[in-house]
Amino acid sequence: MFGMRVRIALAEKGLKYEQREEDLRNKSPLLLETNPVHKKIPVLIHNGKPICESLIIVEYIDEVWKDESPLLPSDPYQRAQARFWADYVDKKVFTLGRMVWRTKGEEQETITKEYLECLKVLEGELGDKSYFGGEKFGFVDVALMPFYIWFYAYETLGNFTWAKRCMEKESVSSSLPDRHQVYEFLLEFKKLNGIE
């Protein structure tokens, strides 16, 4: 999921890169060496030097290849807003979203409600804009898009026009897996972990 953010950013900048698929149940020596602290993906290796944490990587990409499709606005206040909302995606959408799949019964109901509330807050922030970044696709859009494929199970949410618009971009559609595949994967995950 977080790897998708980096792929979208790299595609937005039109960059060529080598992609290595990691088996997270059997992590490679390269992963353990380049991210010894967290041992997680994504890791971007640029000129032999590793960068970890998806949003930090995206900011790095945006700074190094700053002339092509900027993801963060140039105004410091707007940048602060973008960072705030990307952080909100991490703090709320990600954290609550994953709990929805891991709970059941009353607990799941409460968490789902909270989760949908968060999505409503995001909808409010999006407002009438084409993208969270305004007229152009930007940092918050990159941060949130990978989670869109998880929304499939909650069609009650409604307004997916934003998501459809993002999916029309080559850089996004080529970077995200098919959401039906994700749905199947999650059903399997639930079965394997005994979550009814």
């Binding site: 602290v37 960068i51 944490e53 930090i56 790095y60 700074e63 940048r79 602060a80 952080d87 909100y88």
Partner: protein
């Protein structure tokens, strides 16, 4: 053109102090508003409707919330006495460690809200994070930011002013000088930095405050 700067904070929140330190280091004039978190002002609710938390920096009437977001904004708006390096890679590394410090905060607070076996377990986890900070984040450097303090030092600044109070109140030591000599030295150094030195919370007042909080969490404090 100078625009008004206001900080909504609350004593003794370390998050509040992060912004106070940055304001002090960059020599920015500001108005401070102390918030009563048990009775949040309309101003706070208006400026931070999403989280309703402090700190909130208000610049020219426009609010910014979340201490790390505030610090990055301050860095871009007032570049004097920079907290981040210029090189994009070094900047990414600084952000990585700042985020690490931020994310691991709750692990340290766990010793404060637990007792007995649970507390021992929390202490063990906390010491693992200290080892990472000691060996990988700080290493042989004077500060996390290198020769001068930077973003990560500010994010971890709570270890300089708050940790020993938390340790005393919780009844156990985490940052032992023999086990973590570099971190221990860093704490002393950090407290002496001009700009930080004048902005550290009073230890006695903190003891009273955190003792009360712990009592609330635990019921009664063990001798």
């Amino acid at each position: 053109m100078e625009e008004e700067v206001k900080l909504l904070g609350a004593w003794p929140s370390p998050y509040s102090y992060r912004v106070l330190w940055a304001l002090s280091l960059k020599d920015i004039k500001y108005e401070y508003v102390e918030e009563d978190l048990s009775n949040k002002s309309d101003l706070l609710l208006q400026y931070n409707p999403v989280y309703k938390k402090i700190p909130v920096l208000v610049h020219g009437g426009k609010p910014i919330s979340e201490s790390l977001v505030i610090l990055e904004y301050m860095e871009e708006t007032w570049p004097q006495n920079p907290l981040l390096p210029q090189d994009p890679y070094d900047k990414a590394m600084a952000r990585f460690w700042a985020k690490f410090g931020e994310d691991k905060g709750p692990i340290f607070m766990a010793i404060f809200v637990t007792v007995g076996e649970e507390q021992e377990k929390a202490a063990k986890e906390a010491k693992e994070q200290l080892t990472i900070l000691e060996e990988q984040a700080l290493g042989e450097k004077k500060f996390f930011g290198g020769d001068k303090i930077g973003l990560t030092d500010i994010v971890l600044g709570w270890m300089a002013g708050w940790l020993d109070v938390i340790e005393e109140v919780s009844g156990l030591k985490l940052l032992e000088a023999e086990t973590f000599p570099r971190l221990h030295a860093w704490v002393q150094r950090f407290k002496e930095v001009p700009g930080i030195k004048e902005q550290l919370p009073d230890r006695d007042e903190m003891l009273v405050y955190y003792k009360k909080k712990r009592e609330m969490f635990i019921g009664s404090v063990k001798p």
